[in-house]
């Protein structure tokens, strides 16, 4: 595994965040000040990777490395975010993402409050807005939010002073998943640039795929996508700068450094996108035979939860090349890095 430099907790504490008043403040400090992006020019939220520069992504990955070191200590606790309040607001079920954010916040010493809203309480926009306003009146620093509607965190970010982290919005984006995927690839392969990454499955409705496409493109990977035509954005064929569209599973996996399998939602079958899960598995599933076409030692990734036996065969999912559990472990470190960056900035000048 490639190791990067020093502890990010030390190095980030040395940086002086610029006092922030609303969204228009331009940061003059920090590595990203040279160009507009998330950590400069007033952007205080993490909504998707499309608005992050390579420098900014690298900053998160570098900090995550330091966070990983913290997580390996006997006493997994730092006071970096002591006195900060983080709320996780989940309008959809989640295990790994919510727990991962909670753990990340707690290791950093923040107070983490988990709020789960039943879908019935968000059937009206006003109640979402009122929920947000209620939470904000409790002086929160960071709102981690998952919502079944695409764009919900963008709406919330326009009505809140706290930093908003998108923990998955509808079929749109899941930026911290993409960041932890990038971190996992870099940890194992040393770099992302030039690596062939195959993303296979429901590209059209996958927020994981979408955020990864932005992130991998920014980091210089060579991305190939494959999936049923009913689950593929047709315009991708005209956007070779984003990804190449493969014609078969074999072509997609051929000589890949990374094979990223996506979860297939069962409701795609009832909505008419797919004939049957059996056929899906036959044509779009990853098994040991197909994995042999990839480069030796190629990484097998999956954002979870997996449908073993459908998009991925159990022997591959738990085989030597799978880094799926690493992804989960790295998720905590990456989310620590994200929380640290946003929380440290959001509260100054309050």
């Amino acid at each position: 595994m490639a190791r990067r430099s020093t502890s990010a907790v030390v190095s980030t504490q040395e940086r002086k965040p610029t006092p922030s008043k609303g969204r228009q403040v331009v940061s003059t400090s920090g590595v990203a000040a040279a160009r507009p992006g998330l950590w400069s020019e007033g952007k205080r939220h993490l909504l998707d990777l499309d608005e992050m520069s390579r420098t900014e992504i690298e900053e998160i990955l570098r900090n995550a490395d330091g966070m990983k070191e913290v997580l390996s200590r006997n006493v997994r606790k730092t006071p970096a975010l002591r006195g900060k309040t983080i709320i996780t607001l989940f309008f959809e079920n989640s295990t790994r993402t919510r727990v991962s954010f909670e753990q990340a916040g707690k290791v950093l010493g923040a107070d983490v409050i988990n709020v789960t809203a039943s879908s019935s309480s968000v059937s009206k926009g006003e109640s979402l807005l009122n929920t947000i306003r209620t939470l904000e009146s409790m002086q929160i620093d960071v709102l981690v939010m998952r919502h079944p509607h695409s764009g919900a965190p963008y709406f919330v970010a326009n009505h809140i002073d706290a930093a908003v982290i998108n923990a998955g919005d509808g079929t749109h984006a899941h930026p911290t998943q993409a960041l932890l995927d990038l971190f996992t690839i870099e940890s194992h392969l040393g770099s992302i640039a030039g690596k062939k990454v195959a993303i296979v499955g429901d590209i059209l409705y996958s927020r994981v795929a979408r955020s990864n496409l932005w992130g991998l493109k920014t980091m210089g990977a060579d991305v190939t996508v494959f999936g049923p035509p009913t689950l593929m954005p047709p315009e991708l064929r005209d956007q070779p700068d984003i990804a190449k569209v493969a014609g078969s599973m074999e072509e997609a996996v051929d000589q890949a450094d990374v094979v990223m399998m996506l979860r297939i939602q069962k409701e795609r079958q009832s909505a008419g996108h797919l004939p049957s899960m059996r056929e899906y598995s036959t044509r779009f599933g990853l098994n040991a035979k197909r994995l042999k076409l990839a480069r030796p030692g190629a990484l097998v990734m999956h954002p979870g939860p997996m449908n073993e036996g459908i998009e991925i065969s159990p022997d591959v999912a738990h085989g030597a090349q799978a880094v799926i559990e690493d992804q989960v472990a790295n998720g905590v470190a990456v989310r620590m890095a994200v929380l640290y960056t946003l929380a440290a900035r959001s509260s100054v000048g309050r």
Partner: protein, 451 residues
Amino acid sequence: MADNSKGIAIVGGRVIDPSQDIDRLATVLIKDGVMEEVTAKPLAKAPDSYDVIDVAGQVVTPGFIDVHTHLRDPGEEHKETIETGTMAAARGGFTTICAMPNTVPCQDNANVIEAVLKRASEVGLVRVLPIGAITVGRHGEQLADMAELAAAGVIGFSDDGDPVADPNLMRQALSYASGLGLPIMNHPQEPALTRGAQMNEGPIANRLGLTGWPNEAESSMVARDVELAALTGGRLHECHISARQSIDAIRRAKERGLNVTAEATPHHLTLTDTWVLGEHGDDNGVVRSGAYDTSTKVNPPLRTQDDVDALIEALADGTIDLIATDHAPHAITDKLCTYQEAANGIANLETAFASVLSLHHRDAVSLPVLIERMTAAPARFLGMDIGTMKKGSTADITIFNPDLDWTVDPSEMATLGKHTPLAGTQMKGRVTTTIFGGKVIWDIAAVAPIG
């Protein structure tokens, strides 16, 4: 403000009345609420019997007619009332508006029609012509009492907001209404192709993770409707056409000599789906916090530039017969939410004319053609002697300054619906005076200095 006991003389303006092929500098004389004369001669005789409105540099036309307005009254008076809706119409230059039936209760029976007409008459600002529902409750199952509705004064039938999805019911509706001489105004949208749809299907929808509404969901129903119009000989009107493919279907129907008309809205003629990205349609390749702008959510959705170009071309050549607003006011909270939750519709009576005037400013459609599509063409559709300055016709007049720069400020709009993607947008050209039945009902100078 004009004294109604006197006449009104509108002097110094460019008069455009497409119903009479008039486009010249002229004086317009109104007496006793009706058109007296449009004359090139200077005002000489008995000037004391006229209030003079000097409109040098402005354009004088028949009052605009909107065949597709949502007034929400009765039942949703928090969104709009007949009073606020007709005030918005007056400010937008409309002297006649046709009220869509999706009220609560629905305009599917004579009682509701009579109530709407009575209320509109009490308010007395502009002419309100109700549209009856095609089916009971707009449920798409059983025809409403169409003859009774016709007797009560409806100008056509629509289940607007909902298509008549059942082809047999559509066939019967066209056939039955043909006996009444009234059009079926269908909202073409194949439901099975638009389940959960939120915006135009395409790269921007995919980028935003929003469910797409494909052009073909519209054009396939237009094509079906055209065949049913041919089968029945009924009068078919297609509402708010947005897709290039639909225009092709309507063009072919007209070539076959079928009794088919179609309308387009100001927003579909001028805006594209890039506006959903926010920043007034600036597509910089990144989804920014202004994206998912719910004020852009409308049904049918804003389409691509290719569709807009096709729509403008069709408006110019008459394939699209007329401009209709689809003014759709909602409560603020109906748009203060996620895109998926947001109500469809744009409140646009007060911006509609400035929007379409931009087509003239960039030489896409000539001014007389534009005016024709908002006056003579809808009057022809209604079969009424309005939208004209012919001697003896009712004096409905709209005066606009084509070069007046102004900025859209929803808080200044009369409509209760404050949602428009044009908020903060610079517009060029604005209605300055609206006259209904010889009475000045809107005068911008009375509320704000011009310029």
